[in-house]
Amino acid sequence: MIERTPILNILTHLILISGLVIILIPIWLAFVAATQTLQAVNSAPVEFWPGDQLWVNLREAWALSDFGPKFINTLIVATGVVVGKITLACITAFAIVFFNFRGRMVIFWMIFITLMLPLEVRIVPTYAVAANALSPFQTILDATGLSGLIATLSGVEVRLEWNLLNSYTGLILPLVATATGTFLYRQFFLTIPDDLVEAARMDGAGPLRFLWDVLIPLSRTNIAALATIMFVYAWNQYLWPLLIITDRANYGMVVVQLSDLVPDQLTTGGGTPTWHLAMAATLVVMLPPIAVVILMQRWFVRGLINTDK
C-alpha cells in the first residue's frame, strides 16, 4: 500500500520527526551535562545548552575510570564474542541445512528454543559452570559411580576443575552460543539453490571447500549484520562481567566501570552527585558501538533484508 498525498506526507514526516526527537533528547541532555561544571550540572533548572567543560570532564572521567586498559579489555571480549558467535552460527547452520543426519530438526529446534533462555534467565547455573567448567562431567562421573571406581582402582581421586572466573575465556564463552545467529544463517543458507551445491560437487569441491569458497563469500553481508548486532550486544554486557570478574583491575569492562561513575548511595556517600563525569564517560563508552554501526551500516541493512542482488 503506497499512497502519496501531501497531507499524508506531512503526517508521516511529523511522526518520524517526533520519534527522532524522542530518541535524541536524552542523548542531547547527556551531552549537555557532560559539558558542564559540577555546580552547573547540579543547579536547577536543567541547562539546555552546552557549556565549555567537555574536554576537562572527559579527561577526568577517563582517568577516574581507568578507561585505557578497560577499553582494551572490552574490545578483546567484544571481538572474541563476535568472532565466536559468527563461527559457531555459521558451522551450526551449515550442518543443519546441508547435511542430512538423524535428528537434525530436533537439534535445530533445541537451538531455537534457547532464544527463550537468555543469559539473565540461566545466570545461576551458568555461573556454576563458569566457576568450574568441568563440573557437569564430574557430576556424570559421580552419578555413574565411575569416579569411585577409578579411586578404588588407582587410588587417585578424580576431581575435574577448570575455573573460568576472572578470565577472558569466562567472559566470552557463555556469550558465544547464539540462536539468533544460527537462525539468520539457516535462513540464508536455505536460499542457496540446490544447483549451486551440485555444481560445486561436480567441480570436485568437498563440503568444507564449498563452505569456504562459496558459502562464506556469499554470506558476507550476513556476517556484517551479525557482527554489528553482536558487537553492540557484547560491548553492552553488564550483568555477566559484574558477576564473574572480581579482579576488576585486570579484567574490568567499560560498562561496569561506567556504572561506578553513575551517582548513587554508594558512590557519592552523601556528596554532590557527579553527573557531569558520568555523562562524559557515557559519551566515551557509546563511541565504539556507534562507530561500528556507522561503518557497517551499508552491509548491515543488506544482510538483514537478505537481498544481495
Binding site: D195, M202, D203, G204
Partner: protein
Amino acid sequence: MAEIRIRNLAKTYGKTTIMQGIDLQIAHGEFVVILGPSGCGKSSLLRMIAGLEEISEGLVEIGGTVVNALEPRERGCAMVFQNYALYPHMTVAENIGYALKVARIPKAERMARIRATAESVGLGDFLDRRPGQLSGGQRQRVAMARAIIREPKVFLFDEPLSNLDAKLRLQMRQEIRKIHNRIGATSVFVTHDQHEGMTLADRLVVMNKGTIEQIGTPAEIYERPQSLYVAGFIGSPPMNILPGQVSTARRGVLLEDGTLLPILSQLDAGDGAMVHVGFRPEQAELVEPGRGAFDARLDMIEEMGAARLCHLLFEDIPVSVLTEGRPALATGAPVGIRLTQEALHLFDANSGHRIELRRIDTRLVEMQPSA
C-alpha cells in the same frame, strides 16, 4: 573410451518407485538425448549417472568401471545445469577455473586453460565480469566452458536451454552440437523439447513414467513409434489417433462411424481386435468430401506461415491436417481426408504397443470409403 552402460537401474524414495528397469548403452562419442515430459524421471536418470543422486538398484558403468559408489568428481563427468548454477561472487574466469583450482592445478597453467576455453566459447572479453553482469546466453556459455575445461569423459546436460529465449535457444543448440563434434566426448542431454531432441541427438531415448518407451535414431522414432505414447509425444503437431476395430474379413479397420480403412498389408491382429489408428497431420491430404479415406467437418484453420493447420472433427474426435494450400472452407463444411498406406500406424488399444504392418503391397493406393 567412455561408453556408458546402464543396467536394470531403479530409483525409489521410501516406498514409491519413480523409475525402474532402465537399460541403456551409450557408445563412446555418441550424443544421446533423453526426452520425456516433466516428472518422467529423465532428470533423475541423468543425476544418477552424474552421482548427484543415489542409485537404488542396478548398475551404472562409465568406461568399463562401475561408478555406483564413486563421488561425482571421480566419475569424470561434467554437468551443465538448467539454471547455469554459476557462483555469483566469482568472476567468469574464476567460475570457469574453479574445478582446476580445486584440483590444485598451478596458476599459470590454470590461467592459460581458462583463457583458451573462454576463447573457444566466445567469452574472451568477459573474463573479469561477474555472472550478474552477463546476459542469459553468456551465462550459458560460462556454464559450458566450466564443463569443457575439465576435459570430461562424459558431458551431462540437464535442460540447459530451457531458460533462453527462442532465438538464442536455436543458436546455442547448434553450438552445443558443434562443441560435441569438436571434443568427441560422450554426451547425454535431457530435455522435454522434442525439437531439441530431434535436432541434437544421434539417438533418442523417450521416457514415460519412469520407464524407457523407445530408443532409436530420431528418424526411427518419428517413422516407427513403438507405442501409442511415443506416437502422441513425438511430432508437432501431434499424430492423429482414431479408435477402431479390426475386420479380417474386410481387410481393414472399421472406424467408429462404420467407415472401413483398408489395410493392404499383413496384419498381426485378430478379427475384432480393438486398435488405434494413427496418422500424422503432415502425411494426410484434404480432398473433396467422399473422395478420401473418410470424411470430417472443418472446425478451424490455423495459419502457420509456410502451411495451414486445419483442425477437423471426425465424430467429435479432433483430427488435424497440415496443408500447403489455402483451403477456402467455412466452419462446419464437410471435407475428405486422403491417406496413403505408408502414413498409417496401428496400435493395440489395450497395451498401446505398435502392431507391425508387413507391407505386401507398397503401391500408393488411394483409399476409397466403402459403400
